[in-house]
Amino acid sequence: MKIKFNINSKIEELEIRPDATLLNVLRDNGFTEVKCGCSEGECGACIVLIDDKTVNSCQVLAMSAASKKIKTVKGIGTLHNPHLLQKIFASTGADQCGFCSPGMVLSAYSLLKENPNPTEKEIAEALDGNLCRCTGYVKIIEAVRRTAQIMNENLISRE
């Protein structure tokens, strides 16, 4: 059946099966920036924002997100117009293989919107659902901390 989705602020009409997960629907329709590390809700690689909340897209049916605002990592910034978080992730070495990065960036984005001045502990807790096997998290936490600092110093919008 055909369903209308709001993905990265654009309305997309997509053909879906009623039992399809949001992850599969997104990936099958070219939103391959949403990654699949486990399909079991345990790695956070598939995180998207649904109405500004982080959700493991492998764990929800696409149908349930139909009337809501979905955002992938490209929805917050692109290669030619990156979000500050993305810039700092890249310059801090918070991305090695980058497979966790889309989910990681979105978890960090959502944290900074709610809590512009998180402690290291709060950052770690907010990223607790995102596995990364490459970095050991040290530079990821550092990137989030630095982004928060720059945003606060320069009063940059968190959008």
Binding site: T32, T92, Q96, V105, R133, C134, G136
Partner: protein, 775 residues
């Protein structure tokens, strides 16, 4: 001083990665693509008596089924190593004997993944169950023979005896261990056990294949070794090498787990037979069960020493659980000796014996650390025990007795990779400074003194500190080869093509930095293409801590050749002789002191060589083989808390001082160390494979397995302390593997410091810790 090297240059793919722009294998899809699912054995040991796929073939949408019924029986090794491989040829893509839970039974290709999965269930298989061999300590005198009359053989002339379940055997000796040990006044003899582990690269293994416009097979794959994939697929799928192209796009981590050729031959066969694109992506469960693991090990250390702590005799006997197939069995084993025993090179009588045995359990393979991690658990504790017994300060002990620049160890020559090793003198080491700086930063002396006092007495939560010194290697000497190609473009940019495989490590960036340094051109001026067997020159691949050191040197040689060509053309244009000019800031300029200053830009030079006089393409290629494998060194320090009520060990502070030669990119080098340390800590504390009594892996999900998250990590400080390795590019050595070796021995030593008890078996789970505390 360097301009582009030793700089924290941002990864050239960095922004594309964090904006989700880069493509990984599973992100590629093609029209009319088939989806492949593999059926894996549910039995640890069984014989298939009949495989009837007729019902499955009738399901609409099923296009091809591969099994022993229609795929030739060809022995090979899944280990993506150089040819001839040091791993035995004991594997068949689809055989009749199932040797572990997860072994390949057959594969279905269908119009959708759902249809393929349904079809798998309709395949009727008659198994004859066989008794499994699940205890590796009983393997070599078991009645159960895992590779019985199946023709398995070693590809190189090494000891191999399938009739005794022996997949690999290694022996080396320097001096006379037995005599020296017999005469020793003080002796320690201990057994150590380390567990299975999964690499847990976040991206699961995947392969996508298609036929190109001229009928050739293209394989996109999550591989660390594209050239070995091409060769091995050619062998197993019986397709000429010239008809195969292998591409590694971005890859979501490897750590050795993708140095294995597992999915590619299956996708290749489907595509080759059906002439349709095919995609095979493993689920996380399949990755845990069916791909490769860190080998389980038992190591036995015997050490004889004098009252002052001088060790006169040391024997390491290693028993490796190779699992069902002997992938990397021999080389991981030899590395258990060759990456540990040279560290304290003044021990006069050294012996290494090792055996890799088959079992009906998941297969070992390459895993960051590669035998060294397994052996350092015991090695690092044995040295601590000797120091404790003889009242030596362990940091000073390592300073005094560790191998130094200008020194050698007989082990380098005695232990190679499937053949004799290569004699080597150390030409770079800052290990002494690592020990000095690391211990200061950590406040080792103060903390050790405090916890040695009765600080912990009567406390529930006990604190302790431990440390270990480490080494690894950089590439496999006189075996691994890397090459590079550079050409110049008319705007003064360059194409840098390398076969090397960036796994997220940042090697594409590091290699560009090396070329940039030689040519005095910003890194952005390099268009880097890597890991495509059609368009990049040969490289053995990303393993054995080789890329920066080995491919880096090939890139350096190649760039130096380009530099000569640019200077020649520049001099010709400027009307001077070549030794009157030099390169600076993307220009050729006359040297200081030359009467009238002249200059010409790289862009003009390239245009001249394209269109004006003596026309030619400025281009070069270079290859590199290393005569040695210079070790990086490290000193790790850890502070822990042990809750004696719950058995929980908490790491509260970690300092690692690391000598990787010149860090070409310090941020990326630190990242390698941090990632390895966290993996090492979780391996020490939680990671393990738990099996049912039938050999089925029970904890095959991220959650049950226990990969660390951001909130599990302690404060970690990595300090890079340069040395200069003359055989490496701009002084560089490796860093990717060494730091995973530290947590096991350092935490175990800290546990002793806190509790007075030793941990001989990892991981250090609360249950086991409580047992040790009570025992």
């Amino acid at each position: 001083m360097f301009k582009y090297v030793k700089k924290a240059v941002e990864k050239i793919d960095g922004l594309a990665l964090v904006t989700g722009n880069e493509k990984y294998t599973d992100d590629f899809s093609f029209d009319k693509m088939l989806y492949v699912s593999v059926l894996h054995s549910g039995y640890a040991h069984a014989q298939i008596e009949e495989l009837d796929d007729s019902a499955a073939r009738k399901i609409p949408g099923v296009v091809e089924i591969l099994s022993y019924n229609n795929v030739n029986t060809i022995l090979y090794t899944t280990a993506g190593q150089g040819f001839p491989e040091p791993s035995p040829y004991d594997t068949i893509l689809f055989g009749k004997t199932m040797r572990f839970v997860g072994d390949n039974v057959c594969a279905v290709a269908a119009e959708t993944k759902e249809i393929a999965d349904i079809a798998l269930k309709k395949i009727k298989i008659k198994y004859k169950r066989l008794k499994p061999l699940l205890n590796f300590e009983q393997s070599d005198n078991s009645k159960i023979i895992i590779h019985k009359n199946d023709g398995a053989f070693p590809k190189i002339p090494v000891y191999y005896d399938a009739s005794k379940n022996i997949a690999a055997m290694v022996e080396a000796e320097a001096g006379d261990f037995e005599k020296a040990f017999g005469e020793s006044k003080n002796k320690i003899e201990k057994n150590f056990y380390v567990s299975y582990a999964s690499h847990c690269a976040l991206e699961p293994h995947a392969a996508v294949s298609y036929i190109d416009n001229r009928g050739r097979l293209v394989i996109i794959s999550t591989t660390q070794v594209p050239f070995h994939v091409r060769r091995i697929v050619s062998h197993v799928a019986e397709i000429p090498i010239s008809k195969i192209r292998v591409i590694k796009p971005r890859i979501g981590g490897g750590f050795g787990g993708k140095q294995e050729v597992l999915l590619e031959p299956i996708a290749a066969l489907v595509t080759w037979r059906t002439k349709r694109p095919a995609k095979l992506v493993y689920s996380r469960k399949e990755v845990f069960n069916s791909t490769r693991t860190r080998h389980q090990y038992k190591t036995v250390f015997k050490v004889g020493f004098q009252d002052n702590g001088i060790i006169t005799a040391l024997h390491l006997d290693a028993l490796e659980n190779s699992g069902a197939y002997g992938s990397h069995a021999l080389t991981v084993l030899s590395n258990a000796g060759s990456k540990t025993l040279p560290l304290l090179n003044k021990i006069e009588n050294l012996k290494f014996t090792g055996k890799g045995v088959y079992t009906n359990l998941p297969c070992g393979g390459a895993y960051r650390g590669y035998g060294a991690t397994e052996a350092y658990f015991g090695y690092g504790q044995i040295i601590d025990m000797v120091c404790e017994a003889t009242n030596n300060n362990i940091v000073e002990y390592y300073k005094k007795w560790s191998i130094k620049s200008g020194e050698t160890s007989p082990i380098f020559k005695a232990l190679g990779e499937g053949k004799e090793g290569v004699a080597m003198t150390i030409t770079s080491s800052s290990l002494e400074e690592c020990l000095e700086t690391g211990s200061k930063e950590f406040h080792w002396n103060e903390k050790k003194k405090l916890y040695d006092s009765n600080f912990n007495k009567g406390k529930r939560i006990k604190r302790g500190v431990g440390m270990a010194a480490l080494m690894q290697g950089s590439a496999i000497p006189e075996i691994d080869m890397a090459s590079a190609y550079i050409k110049m473009n008319d705007d003064g940019s360059f194409n840098l093509n390398i076969g090397a495989t960036d796994l997220g490590t940042g090697s594409d960036t590091i290699l560009a930095q090396i070329a940039a340094e030689v040519l005095d051109v910003p890194v952005e001026k390099f268009i880097v293409t890597s890991s495509d067997t059609d368009f990049t020159p040969f490289d053995t691949g990303a393993y054995a801590s080789s890329t920066t050191y080995l491919t880096g040197q090939a890139v350096k040689k190649c760039a130096e050749n380009i530099k000569e060509q640019i200077l020649k053309v520049g001099a010709e244009i400027l009307g001077v002789i070549q030794n009157e000019v030099e390169i600076e800031n993307e220009q050729v300029i006359t040297k200081p002191g030359f009467a009238d200053f002249r200059k010409i830009s790289f862009a003009e030079i390239c245009n001249y060589s394209f269109y004006q006089n003596n026309q030619f393409q400025i281009q070069a290629t270079a290859s590199h083989v290393s005569p040695k494998s210079p070790p990086p060194f490290a000193a790790h320090f850890v502070e822990i808390e042990v809750d004696t009520f719950t058995g929980i060990i908490k790491v509260i502070n970690y300092v690692a001082a690391v000598d990787c030669g010149t860090p070409i990119n310090p941020i990326l080098a630190e990242g390698q160390a941090e990632g390895a340390i966290v993996n090492g800590i979780s391996y020490a504390l939680v990671e393990n494979y738990y099996f049912s009594e039938y050999g089925k892996l029970l904890n095959d999900t991220f959650g049950k397995y226990g990969v660390y998250t951001a909130s599990d990590i302690p404060p970690i400080k990595v300090i890079l302390i340069d040395s200069y390795e003359e055989t490496g590019p701009f002084g560089a050595k490796s860093i990717s593997e060494i730091n995973i070796n530290g947590p096991l021995p350092a935490i175990a030593n800290a546990f002793f410091n806190a509790t007075g008890k030793r941990l001989f078996k990892s991981p250090f789970t609360p249950e086991d810790v409580l047992k040790v505390l009570k025992g």
